[in-house]
Symmetry: C2
Subunit: 672 residues, 2 copies
Amino acid sequence: MNVVRTQVLADATLSKKMADAIRMLSLDAIERSGDGHPGAPLGCAEIATVLFTRHLKLNPANPNWFDRDRFVLSNGHGSMLLYSVLHLSGYEAVTIEQIKSFRKLGSICHGHPEYATEHGIEVTTGPLGQGFANGVGMAVAEEHLRSVLGPDIVDHFTYVLAGDGCLMEGVAQEALSLAGHLRLGKLIVLWDDNSITDDGSTSISISEDIRSRFRAAGWQVLDADGHDMEAIDVAIAHAKSDSRPSLIACATTIGRGFVRLEGQRGAHGSRVFKEDTEAARERLDWTSPPFVVPENVLAGWRSMIEARNGVEYRAWQARLAGLPADKRALVERLAARELPTGWEESLRLYKRSAINLPAQPSIQSSGEAIASVFAAIPELVSGAPDLEGPTGHKRELRAFAASDRGGRFVHYGIREHAMGSMMNGMAAHGGIVPIGATYLAFSDYLRPAIRMAALMGVRSIFVYSHDSIGIGQNGPTHQPVEILASLRAIPNMLVMRPADAVEVAECWEIALARRDGPSSLILSRQALPPVRRSHTDENLCARGAYVLAAAVGGPRQVSLVATGSEVSIALKAKRLLEKEGISSAVVSMPSWEAFEQQDEDYRRSTLGGADTLKVGIEAAVRQGWERYLGEDGIFVGMTGFGASGPGEDLFRHFGITAENVVHQVKRAVRSS
Amino acid sequence: MNVVRTQVLADATLSKKMADAIRMLSLDAIERSGDGHPGAPLGCAEIATVLFTRHLKLNPANPNWFDRDRFVLSNGHGSMLLYSVLHLSGYEAVTIEQIKSFRKLGSICHGHPEYATEHGIEVTTGPLGQGFANGVGMAVAEEHLRSVLGPDIVDHFTYVLAGDGCLMEGVAQEALSLAGHLRLGKLIVLWDDNSITDDGSTSISISEDIRSRFRAAGWQVLDADGHDMEAIDVAIAHAKSDSRPSLIACATTIGRGFVRLEGQRGAHGSRVFKEDTEAARERLDWTSPPFVVPENVLAGWRSMIEARNGVEYRAWQARLAGLPADKRALVERLAARELPTGWEESLRLYKRSAINLPAQPSIQSSGEAIASVFAAIPELVSGAPDLEGPTGHKRELRAFAASDRGGRFVHYGIREHAMGSMMNGMAAHGGIVPIGATYLAFSDYLRPAIRMAALMGVRSIFVYSHDSIGIGQNGPTHQPVEILASLRAIPNMLVMRPADAVEVAECWEIALARRDGPSSLILSRQALPPVRRSHTDENLCARGAYVLAAAVGGPRQVSLVATGSEVSIALKAKRLLEKEGISSAVVSMPSWEAFEQQDEDYRRSTLGGADTLKVGIEAAVRQGWERYLGEDGIFVGMTGFGASGPGEDLFRHFGITAENVVHQVKRAVRSS
């Protein structure tokens, strides 16, 4: 490698051209698309060049190399920086044609980077701060996997390029605090310190000493001229050699080379016109036509990357091949994101035993169910934002800590948002299936991360306790009423609200088996009586909804459709209705999304036909229930926020009782 | 005052009893309720006693005194601390009977404090970090109003009591950074520094130097023994005299006096039993029975508060009375949260002129509409999280800054969550009507604050631009599809999505006139053609939905119900359907919540009867639309996340076009 490196670096002109290639590719693409963000690609060209050609461990021929360094562009609006760099590095999918269609429908060069590790995009970024916290999660994954698999197999860095906006966001503030606490020494954040945000000078909204802030959290802080490649090179080398996470403040000029606007607010997201690319060509002494990278420049990029990584990659493959069969199989399984064969067994045993459990909180059942597979699925990493006690998903796991990298429970502190984004980073990194448990009312705190999990389609598993007014006296701040609806509204989010321990076990099996998206388990603090009293091998929750108790004494007149804690209310209502000579069936409906996947026959036979009165029972707002209840249906639930009082009092106060269900059904039956 | 103060303070036993009164009232109430959080009330008894009896400017006989100091209990789980203190201070509503019914349905002593300034509760708290950021917003309100009304009328402090959890939250990290930048010297945060969180020692999840972190942001940091009343007294005096915001780190023992658990994790939220209250009585040498406060202790509290505040309050009333009539009227108007008479006029003029506007983004129309009332409504304070340019709600306003307190636009920086919580603090403070503008996709970042605004019922006005795939090339990270549904799911949130500049003006009038809750205006980045081409004095949006274009050539067969940017698609579809001989009406439906308030006749006549085919058109997910479309209705919208491409391409790609509406209507009409 040194030969090539020496040759290339000896040629100062070539080195400069290697960075300018990013500038010109980005400007040409942004001009062509008529829209984009030139500020970061131009401002960070030297940073990216040094990082990719001199430090990053990667293999463009095998982008999913398990032990590659991870690179996150947290300031995702600078997406052309990433596409340019991936093309220059030799990622085959990122062709000039793709770059020419930047921001066009169908291009892999989307407006913001979208999760696609197969061509070098580690996470979706754009909403500021997310990428920073994703990177912290990736660094946790790396530390843990290194301790489990050994440094011969896992030993890489996580690099994050972040702008001022990313650092201002609360999610990054939470994540950096935890990163310092956990001493994530292989996390290196390159700060595009250009003193400009969308509104103008950063001095408009911040005068904080950012270096001191990071030092206060236990970070190493370094400074470098962001346009001086040697200085950046030295800083990264320093960062790599320190046991603390490192922030490298790279002083840059936003949009450098965007002659008309460089160094100005306008450079961030202005349109680029032909005159601008021409002015840049002249300024940069760039003679090639648009979208053409000179041979020697491309060769410089690729030879340096190959020279440094080729040997490393082959050596890693050799080490992998040299592993004992079982350990190699483990690595290959984790890299393939496959769960171990037979992982479901202990969960199914728990389900079998659960029919005999007494009434207990479904959050407790969830803790028991997941504990049963911790041993079988070593990649499960649980955690909670300071609610380990009330959520109970730590069990026998040791805490992940600076002093214990083998720990599998992350104490996130009171940092819900960082938890969500870090989970996404762990899931995207691979080798980890992250679980995070908090109260449903606080899911709003991590909602931007939840949305990204659904958009990326990663296997982040969110466990939410305290799911309704059933929590009682803590009052409306802690009582979700709208949050089930708001989670169900998110595309690709699988929401499940099990009614008892058996359904909890079934829902966990669904969540763990799901490969292409996140799951949300909605669980109660209050004890729930068992509703599934006989065992069946079939996973009934996988259907989304099913007839839990069929109508007796005549054809079904009424369908009582309920979820979670309200299923037992439906069962009681059924008994009371029978006394009134009204026959009803109880439908347990743990998951709308799963139910929507069933064919129409199943859906109709489960809910009942047009002449069946549908009653929805859920201690939450009605929104969306109309779909299952029809125009004449009845909904028994919440119409506003909760109140502070004992849970049973609240269910009575808000009329979510079997008696009220019966009352309303009788009125409807009479009037029909 | 000095006489009383000297008398009371000379009696060391009495001073101690005054703090212990908080402990015993809290313990007795928590024991009686069978549930609660003793840790903070017991740990912070001395802090609260010193603050209320020696510093806080308040008048229990007039809790809404406009110039009172504001006190926020950010660690809201310690609610009994607040109720005890309010009772001891003499707030009549907070009786011993109310305290005895702590956490019972109907009591004003809710599990967590709920916004009720009429008895001394300045904001609802519980979700951690919110109160801290509310306090920063209150301090902004105070600085601004002091500059506008003069220090004779407004000159008070904002005190926040916060725990470790509050400080870890991203929202507090964002808010403290901005508070330092804005040099909010009248903001004083008392940190309950007890080194314990729910999971145990804070060392489990944080090792940051919190003092350095605050200093890095420009705060004064002081230390005090949280159980030494003289030390607390001195620290608060120091804090008041400094021009920077101050953090007072009060070293405390959690649950001090809760003999069984004091200083331990369990003290935070454990049940309190009779043995515990008895042990506390013995430890504290407290001889009175439960819920009884010794006369001299009560007298100590009230005499000190009266001695210090009585004179101040009367002097303030005298200064108010001495004001010129117009200025006094202004103060009284602001205190009463009334808008100035005639405030609507300029907005209505804008509406009148809007029928002649060309197609333009509704976010632009919103900026124009609100600019028209900035002069008429001086209490409007606008702001944005670094999106002032693309949202355009600054207009001619000056920035609020350390150097310009008269400024009415807050540059929040890239801190959406702090913006939302600060807005709530400003709205709760009174004298300010806060407006915050960002992209709809980023509303998730402030969602916890949005929920609190709705729960408190404060007039925070959220302006959201970039409301759909219409934004085009920035792609799915920036394209909301689920967020309309998730906002509509929140009780007491008024969501409005106007279709053109006329509707924008009407929606602004509704939002500003609303006194009992927040509003969300959902606006487009892309240009929207005008749909209201003739003027009407009536505010049609106030009905939630209305017939924009009636059916012609026969009775209405189809109702095309649309919102915002899709209304013009509905109008085009109507024209196409007429060519096909199908008569349809276009219903513009800017607000579901407002429509739900209309009587059934109006709703039926607007949407059409059972035999009218309903078609919902909205570039978002279907959730909730079933309610208006019925079982046979059609929905034309999104089923998943968006994509990166030009907006027009995306509308075609996802089938949100007049042609597709016609296609589906024809199929439905044929099959029926």
